[in-house]
Subunit: 570 residues, 2 copies
């Protein structure tokens, strides 16, 4: 018998490729979450790992794939929930992973199945969405590729993902207990910034125990991005900082911004990219500099005066040694308090002309969310329209679907606070009527909603902070930014209703406003909140319900807490 080798190869290849198409449909992950000691910035502390790692495994998928994550909680006494940041969960609102909003927490010993479709190519992330567990290291990347045969509106040779973060040495429990204390105890600036889970704390600092800090630990060796001279890299950059607004740059290399939060951007070039917690960007970088050396990649904290050292990674030109330090001093980055380049970058982000999602030209409802800092019963809180948000212990998705009206306060928060027109955003918050509440906004299905994020002065004079707001279950059009007080009659005339970018996270700059528009067309219950973890914990968020009547039968796996315990039969 003779074997036709070329034909066999073709057959084998076609079988393999059929298999790979079949396998592309469902991406099944089995994750175990537990506490382990790690030294991501050389300082040894307890972190939450997924399958032994922080950041956790990257989810790679193709548009249209179904992701299944069987998440086993192996924490001893603590529950967990994971949010798939940027995935809209169309048809699967119960898989959004937001404790108190879309599900009960996952108990120790339980395995919870997250199952959802990634319906759009792009750069996304996942992270814990329960208490302040995100800061304990429970996060990772999601990268969704285009369907076969489709191409991006830009070209590159290689694709890389990194997540930027900040890092605290105190436990999330200590941080949370401090935020709830009277008097208020703030954890302070992060000890480190991290690039793809690696930072570098100065172990020689006085008072640092040698046993808990080892500068030669491989877990904190700098992240290395190795590049081949002349090639172009798509670098997908996400930020999941607890607090820090960041500037990211690669010494001597421009970056062309091509994607934001899963949407194609009309390309523009920057020396440094400003990125806020909850945002993702893709930038193109061509390795077109002197290839005989390496370069620094730098992440720097901006927007807030701070003592946190910059994070450094190595942009390594192959075949130089990846650990060879660049011969130069790392770039020092922009001044922390220079707002204008940050606002300018926000303004520069527009939809790619070939990928414009037409924005509705009018809206049905305008909600002006005034962000203020308040003191309520002696505690420092953040409030939206004088309501400091608290999560209920019965997930809204269940209580709204099942009409458990006692599970949360039924009076909705206001669309605009009384006296908004005379409120002075430039003085120390005078509003003393703030209360805590778990009430929600109920949106009429399929209506178009404008949200105006209005920033203001905090409780400290001459201080207003940057807040990145993240909307679950949606992308929104970013129709405008402005400084000062939003003018209800004039400012909407200046909205960009031609080519606004769609995003899921957007900053409101100090003393400024940001206007968003979205269509309430995704049946479910969706959190909308400042992505600074402590700010949400302190009340800076709210929740939208839309089309709850269209949500199909809820899986029982999301129930079992709060009033959904009532569903237990004896």
């Amino acid at each position: 018998m003779t074997i036709n080798l070329p034909l066999l190869c073709v057959l084998l290849l076609s079988i393999l490729s059929v298999n790979s198409i079949v396998e592309a449909r469902i991406r099944h992950h089995r994750w175990e979450v537990k506490y382990e000691f790690k030294s991501p910035d050389c300082f040894r502390k307890l972190v939450i790992t997924i399958n032994g790692r922080t950041p956790g495994p990257t989810i790679r998928a193709q548009q249209g794939d179904t992701i299944i994550v069987d998440l086993k909680n192996s924490l001893v006494t603590e529950n967990v929930a994971i949010h798939w940041h940027g995935i809209r969960q169309i048809g699967t609102p119960w898989a959004d992973g937001t404790e108190g909003v879309t599900q009960c927490p996952i108990l120790p010993g339980d395995t919870f199945r997250y199952m959802f479709v990634v319906d759009r190519a792009g750069t996304y992330m996942y992270h814990a969405h329960y208490g302040m567990q995100r800061e304990a290291g429970l996060y990772g990347s999601i990268r969704v590729a285009l369907p076969d045969g489709e191409v991006e509106p830009f070209s590159y040779d290689y694709d890389r993902s990194i997540i930027l973060n900040d890092w605290y040495h105190k436990s999330t429990y200590e941080q949370a207990a401090g935020l709830s204390s009277v008097p208020f105890v703030w954890v302070g600036d992060p000890q480190s910034l991290m690039i793809q889970g690696r930072g570098r704390f100065n172990c020689s600092k006085p008072g640092v125990e040698a046993a808990s800090c080892n500068a030669t630990n491989p877990e904190c060796s700098p992240y290395v991005l190795t590049v081949v001279p002349g090639k172009t890299y798509r670098l997908r950059i996400g930020s999941l900082t607890a607090l820090a607004a960041l500037s990211f740059e690669i010494e001597g290399h421009n970056m062309t911004v091509v994607e934001a939060d899963g949407h194609y951007v009309q390309p523009f070039t920057v020396k440094n990219l400003f990125i806020y917690s909850g945002e993702t960007y893709s930038v193109l970088i061509t390795a077109n500099q002197d290839p005989s050396r390496n370069y620094w990649a730098v992440s720097k904290m901006v927007s807030r005066n701070n003592t946190t050292p910059n994070a450094l990674a190595i942009f390594n030109y192959y075949p130089n040694h990846p650990k060879r330090s660049p011969p130069t001093v790392p770039p020092s980055g922009p001044f922390w308090n220079d707002i204008s380049p940050r606002v300018n970058q926000s303004l520069a982000i527009k939809s790619h002309p070939n990928y414009i999602h037409p924005v509705p030209q009018t809206s049905d409802r305008v909600i002006i969310l005034l962000n203020t800092q308040n003191r309520i019963n002696g505690s420092v809180k953040w409030s939206i329209n004088n309501v400091s948000f608290t999560l209920p212990h019965t997930p809204y998705l269940v209580s709204l679907k099942q009409n458990l009206l006692d599970s949360f306060e039924q009076t909705p928060p206001p669309d605009v606070i009384d006296g908004y027109h005379t409120y002075d955003i430039n003085t120390v918050a005078p509003n003393v009527n703030a209360t805590t509440s778990n009430s929600v906004y109920r949106l009429k299905f399929n209506t178009t909603v404008d949200i105006i994020l209005q920033n203001a002065n905090t409780m400290t004079s001459n201080n207003s902070e940057t807040h990145p707001w993240h909307l679950h279950g949606h992308d929104f059009w970013v129709v405008g930014y402005g400084s000062g007080k939003f003018n209800v009659s004039e400012d909407p005339k200046k909205y960009n209703l031609v080519d606004p970018i769609m995003k899921n996270t957007v900053p409101v700059h100090p003393y400024g406003w940001t206007a968003l528009r979205f269509v309430a067309d995704n049946p479910g219950v969706w959190a909308f909140h400042c992505h600074i973890e402590s700010h949400f914990y302190m009340g800076m968020g709210t929740v939208f319900e839309e089309g709850i009547e269209k949500v199909t039968k809820l899986p029982s796996s999301i129930m079992g807490c709060g009033d959904t315990k009532r569903f237990i039969r004896p």
Copy 2:
């Protein structure tokens, strides 16, 4: 109208006394559990408080009262459960508070109602029974008085309760993660011992941050027991140490032991009382020394070589200033490694002759529990008959009552290990066949069971540790102690079947054995384990089921986790 004042007084008094009798029937407590920063040994750390306190509020009741504790979990991401240590929960096995055994954990935001009768006067305690939360400070005293008209077989003027403890500066998460790590990380000796929640860490130690340690913090001022010269005090002493076996003494004063774990003891006098985690004693102390000065009360760690300083309290003779230091050096206590006085005290504890509960003269079943230390899959564990116990995530009480046979391993552990008769307890544990399991012993209802706790050498040569074993749902007769290997045919002949004490917690001494007898007459599922918190966490325990068919309808409040989630209707 004239008023007959004396008659009015009598009427009022009788109304009041009726009321007080009525109120004595139900003792209703509302507790909120949360994290707070406290400095119980001057070192500031996160602790779990009840209504802002650690130790929590003392429960005072009278025999026959019903205790109701509405426990609100205000931890952010962490569940909780509280065990009522020494209360047998006759008729209320679901109120024992043992996570994984009698209930699901209480979720954040939930309020769980514990309701049970305190059916016997005596000295008891409560504490967290979930993960290692007890060590985070969640504990307190229960004091049950005799019914009106009944008197103790001893007299005293005043009644006081204290709990002895040890204290770690690392969080319980760090401790637990270390115990589960490969390689094993042990937290080491406690930083402090505490008397009624007050210890004294040396803040001047090198490396201790001034901000986190303040020797003048009133939270760590020594506990003061103020006495009136000539009066006799009943001091109720409990131990809830995580690790330490203790010796407690009051300088210059003898103590007469009159109660142990709620049972009257044939009185005997000691200079120092040895007390193991989980035990309670009442001692009588007469303030019969020079009243012009104060005296030291000292708690010292024994049984294990250690670096932990002794705890000091002040035995204050009124009217001396309570903070006046005694003029003497505190007594240094017994040598840590002198076993014989500890064994002698164990042997000295017999039932008060007028309060003997007759012990069954024969038993129906003998279970020999060989305690060994093992390495399983690289982890250091403790095993009982080669089974290192793990808790299931479905409480046994529900799974056994509802026949959820997949919820735990159905093959029971052995009553005696194969090869027991040739096992050498004096050499480094040779048994390599240890496994982890959540299987349980099922006892025939109303039968009499003997338990032999057999100690052995650990994985370190020439080392055997003291383990205090605590049985839930029962008191047992302590019928014998011995050194070396238990002899099945000879040793039972030496049992004390005349006046053995009944207890709920008993030590097994190094290289020794302890024999217990109890009647399996309390329908329910009951944990039996070493009360050293890390030892139970590492597998040193087991569970007994008896009369599950007699348990009445289980409250749904204990369900909702593991396989009892199945009971949720969609």
